[in-house]
Chain length 152, copies 3
């Protein structure tokens, strides 16, 4: 008889695209309180809502490797910020303010997160170190995204 | 008679790797004109040619979520730059120049782009704010890449 | 006779998730030697061990497009650093130190790497330019990750 019909096309490859978690947010004003999570409430992207603007914390819903970055406008006071993961300061960024000057400070890092881990930015030290500035034409931002999800 | 031979095996499924868009470019000199897109003409990577060095604009060919970052050498004048998406300034970075100093200013953000959206960097304000510097051993750069393409 | 049975279903598409290479490291102290690769020995992430803390070099095991970023605390001296690929300085970052100040300098870029290519950070110029600073509460970091692996 005749040959059979061709088989069906294979399934799509496991896509990177079913595993998505990303946020990008900015400071809405310059009233940053030391020693609690900084609340960034200007939203550039937060489609999955894994970043919580009411607490300032990113919540890990997909275990894997994440890239985090932040860019801070330093004005009127020094800036000392830490990137926290589960109540532990993982990364420290310090920039001194000089009179009449205005600077930019930034940090980035890859961190592996387990389900439920929380990540946030926080001023360390006292109120002499919360010189994070933002207004309508000056941003201070915090961004994170899932780079590689865990496989088993 | 006998049944025919089996049909051909199906086609492989869709690869995750067909969605690629990325560029990384630098300033070739320090003559940055305010209020028009900055033209970065030193090319680190632009394989898909989605960045146009003649206009300074990145053109979205694949709808999805993009990461953009820039790092600016601040020298001789202040720097005020904005990241534009479709004629709207999305992100603002300011760094003041002090006599005898030289600073680095940077920004990064995630932006969702539709097909045809254009993204670029531009000096805002006047010619007192175009202190972007570059020469053979000093870079000012602009980078972007597709992180997650849209699925339907 | 009857037609043959349908062909077998095609293979699944290629997964994005088998190609992984990433590292994120920091300076452990402030003794940076000029003109040799900077050794970052504080490890945030290096699961694949493609970064070698004994040499300071990242070794490309998967050809493709990589994103690199670094953030340097500038203190007590100027900082001039280059990102090297295969003994060629690809990217240059300079930040001047001013008395009583402390700054942050950063850079990032996309580079295509072939199998075996090595990438590292290095102070250029002389010992007046190695003002990279780090201690328990001040970081200077270097990060890289595979964004898109090569397909043929
Ligand atoms: Ca400054
Ligand atoms: Ca400086
Ligand atoms: Ca400073």
């Amino acid at each position: 008889g005749f040959p059979g019909v061709p088989g069906r096309k294979g399934e799509p490859g496991e896509s990177a695209h079913v595993y998505r978690s990303a946020f990008s947010v900015g400071l809405s004003n310059k009233d940053t309180v030391p020693n609690v999570p900084i609340r960034f409430t200007k939203i550039f992207y937060n489609q999955q809502n894994h970043y919580d603007g009411t607490t300032g914390k990113f919540h890990c819903n997909i275990p894997g490797l994440y890239y985090f970055s932040y860019h801070i406008t330093v004005y009127l006071k020094d800036v000392k910020v830490s990137l926290y993961k589960k109540d532990k300061a993982m990364l420290f960024t310090y920039d001194k303010y000089q009179e009449m000057d205005l600077d930019q400070a930034s940090g980035s890092v890859l961190l592996h997160l387990e389900l439920g881990d929380e990540v946030w930015l926080q001023v360390y030290g006292n109120e002499d170190h919360n010189g994070l500035y933002a207004d309508n034409v000056n941003d201070s931002t915090f961004t994170g995204f899932l780079l590689y999800h865990d496989t088993n």
